[in-house]
Symmetry: C2
DNA sequence: TATTAGCACTCTGTGAGGGAGAGTGCTAAG
DNA sequence: CTTAGCACTCTCCCTCACAGAGTGCTAATA
C-alpha cells in the first residue's frame, strides 16, 4: 500500500510530532532522519501522504501533522515488532503492590496511579465486572434489628457488601438456610449468569406461594443488581500539564470523560475479550467526548478467565511505544499476581 | 468598625461582583442599589474600603474587587441572619437517597453529586473517620485456605472489609474466640481509641508469650490501620465552566486539590467539631492549593455524635448565600436520615 | 525519469501604535 | 459633607506591518 520510503517519512513525521507538538516541516524531518534525499523530495512524499489521508496541514503554509489514520499506521507498525518489557513499572508495581495483594480495590487504585505517574497520562484500572466475576460464596449477617449485611465473595478476590432491609423479618435460622441454598445453587457462576437465572427463577416462583426460596431469590436479586465494576482513573493533575491540554475546551472534555464512568465501562467491554494490548485512537473511539483522546488498554487475566482492564488514556499525540509497553507489562504483572495468589 | 453606609456599599460591591466577575465601578453600584448618594460619594467610600483592605483594584483605573477580607465581612453579615432552608435540595435528596439509605458510601457519593449539580461548584462529602466511627461489631470469616476476611461494622452504618493473610493459621475455632474477644473489648469505642489502646496493649503483651490475645491484637491492628475516611468530590466538569476558571493555571490548582484527598481530610478536621455551617475563604485556608478557593462545609451528626462532613468547594467569588443554605439543608437532611435510621 | 535547487507565495505570530471606553482621583462649587 | 466636572490612567481591541517558516511549482540536473 505504501512504498518503503513513504513509510519511513510517515513514521518519522509521527515520531517528530510526538516529540514536539509543532507541525513537522519537510526540512526538519529530512535533516533529523537523514533519509538520503532532499527536503524537496520529502515535500512531494508528504503531499502524497496528505492526499492519502495520513497527514494534514493546520493551514496552507504550515508543516504536517498526523491524522488519526496516520497514528493508526504508525501503531500497527509498532505492534508488528515485539512489545518491549518495561522494567521500571514492573519494579514499581512490585514494590507498591506488595502490601496490597489482598485487596483488589486498593490494588487497582494503586495500579492506575502508577501507570499515570510513569506515563504522565491518565492511568486507568477497572475491576472485573458482572460478566467476569464468579460467585465464590455469599454470607448473610444480621446487622441490626431491621437490617441484614450481605457479603459477597467472588473467586476473583473481590468482596462486596450490601446492607438490605430485613423486610420479611427472617430469622437467623432462615438466613442460614437461604445462604446455604444460594451457595449451593449459584457458586461458580458469573454474576451476570446469576442475574439472568434469577429472573427466570423468580417468574417461576411467583406462581407458588411465598416460600423460603422466593425470599432467597428476592434477597439475592437486591444484592446482585448492586454489583458493578469499579473504575479507577488517576493523573488528571499530571496530564493537564501537557501542551495538548493548554486549551480550556480540551480540559473540559477530559474532565467530562473522567466523571462519566459509564462511558469508560462501555469502552471496556470491547477490550476485555481481545487478546493483548488494544489501541483506540481518537475518532476510532465511539464515545463522543473521547474523540480527541487515545486509549491503550489491556485485559488482565485471572488464571484462564478474563479479569478486568487496565490502561492509559492520553492525547492522540501520545508516546504510543512507551504506553504500550507500560500497559503490556503491567497487565502481565497483575495476571501473575492473581495466578500466584491462587484465589478462590 | 464600619459605619452603616460603608457596610451597604461593601456588601453591594461583593454582591455585584458575585453576580458578574467584572470589577465593580462606583457609577454602576450606585445606580443599581440606589443608595441615595452620588457615585462620587461612593468613590470616596470605596477608596476608604480599599485602604482598610476590604476591596482592591486590579489596576489603577478599574473598578473594585472584593478581597478575602471583604468576602469575610460579607459572609459574617449573611450568617447573622437566619440561614434559609433550601427546599430544592431537600426534595432532590429525598428522591435520590431513598433507595440508598442502607449504604453510607453510595449515600455520600450521591450527596456530593447533588450538591454539585445544584450549586454548580464542587460537591464534597466525607464519611466519618476513625475519630468519629465507633465499632459496632467485628466478624472474621475464613475466606480461602490462607486468607481471612474481616468485616467491620460501625455504629454509623459503615461496613469495611479487609482481607488479611492467615499467617498464624488460626483455626475456625480460634477465629471465633478472637472475634468474641475483640467484640467484648472494643465494641462502642471509636476506631481511634481502639488503635491507641491496641498499641498500649501490644506492648504489654509482647512480654508474654504468643497467646491468642496477642494474635487477636495483631489481627485487629491490621484491620484498624486500614480504616480511613472516604472522600467524595463531584462536579469538576461543572465548575470548570465558570469564568473564574478560564485560566489554565487555576484549573491545574483545582485538579491538584481534587486528587489530593489528604489535604481535604486535613481541612475537614477543623470543621467536624464546629457547630453549624463553616466558611473558609481563600487565603484563610491552610492548604496551599486552595488559597484561591472557598469551602462551605458542615458536619452532619449521627444522633448525638459528629459524623462526617459535607460541603461545597468553589471560587472565592462564590454565591455564599445559596451555598450556605444548600449545605445547611443537606447536612440537616443527612442527620435526620441517620436519626430515623436508628442504626447501631 | 526521478531528484533537486531555487524562488515566489501564503499563512501565522508578534509587537507596535492608536483610539474608544470605563473608571478613578482630585478640585472646586453647592 | 456632598456632588459635579474634568483631566488622567489603564485596559482592551483593532489594525498594520514584518519576520519567519514552510509550501508548491518550475526548471535544471544526474
Amino acid at each position: 500500500m505504501l512504498d518503503e520510503r513513504s513509510k519511513r517519512v510517515l513514521c518519522a513525521v509521527v515520531e517528530s510530532y510526538i516529540d514536539n507538538p509543532d507541525p513537522v516541516g519537510s526540512r526538519y524531518v529530512t535533516k533529523r532522519y537523514s533519509f538520503g534525499f532532499s527536503p524537496a523530495t520529502s515535500r512531494n512524499i508528504m503531499a502524497d501522504l496528505e492526499d492519502m489521508g495520513f497527514l494534514s496541514q493546520p493551514h496552507t503554509s504550515a508543516g504536517r501533522v498526523p491524522t488519526d489514520k496516520g497514528y493508526r499506521f504508525y501503531v500497527e507498525n509498532l505492534l508488528m515488532e515485539k512489545v518491549s518489557f518495561h522494567s521500571e513499572i514492573a519494579e514499581l508495581l512490585t514494590r507498591r503492590l506488595k502490601s496490597l495483594r489482598e485487596d483488589i480495590d486498593s490494588l487497582l487504585d494503586e495500579t492506575s496511579k502508577t501507570l499515570s505517574s510513569l506515563s504522565h497520562y491518565l492511568g486507568l484500572a477497572v475491576t472485573p465486572g458482572p460478566e467476569e466475576s464468579t460467585l465464590g460464596r455469599i454470607e448473610i449477617i444480621p446487622y441490626s434489628d431491621e437490617r441484614l449485611a450481605v457479603i459477597l465473595f467472588t473467586n476473583e478476590g473481590i468482596i462486596k457488601h450490601k446492607v438490605i432491609k430485613n423486610d420479611l423479618s427472617l430469622s437467623r435460622h432462615d438466613l442460614n438456610r437461604i445462604a446455604r441454598y444460594l451457595n449451593r445453587e449459584y457458586a461458580g457462576f458469573t454474576i451476570k449468569e446469576i442475574r439472568q437465572h434469577l429472573l427466570a427463577e423468580m417468574e417461576r416462583e411467583q406462581a407458588l406461594c411465598d416460600s423460603l426460596v422466593s425470599r432467597a431469590l428476592r434477597l439475592c436479586r437486591d444484592v446482585m443488581s448492586y454489583y458493578g465494576a469499579n473504575v479507577f482513573i488517576a493523573g488528571l493533575a499530571e496530564i493537564i500539564e501537557l501542551p495538548d491540554f493548554s486549551d480550556v475546551e480540551r480540559i473540559k472534555e477530559l474532565s467530562r470523560t473522567i466523571e462519566d464512568k459509564r462511558a469508560i465501562i462501555k469502552l471496556i467491554d470491547r477490550i476485555i475479550d481481545a487478546e493483548g494490548v488494544q489501541v483506540v485512537i481518537g475518532s476510532e473511539n465511539p464515545v463522543r467526548e473521547m474523540k480527541a483522546l487515545s486509549v491503550i488498554a489491556s485485559a488482565y487475566r485471572e488464571g484462564e478467565r478474563p479479569g478486568g482492564v487496565i490502561g492509559i488514556i492520553g492525547p492522540t499525540r501520545m508516546d504510543y511505544s512507551s504506553a504500550i509497553s507500560l500497559v503490556s507489562t503491567a497487565a502481565r504483572f497483575l495476571s501473575s499476581i492473581f495466578d500466584k495468589g491462587g484465589r478462590g
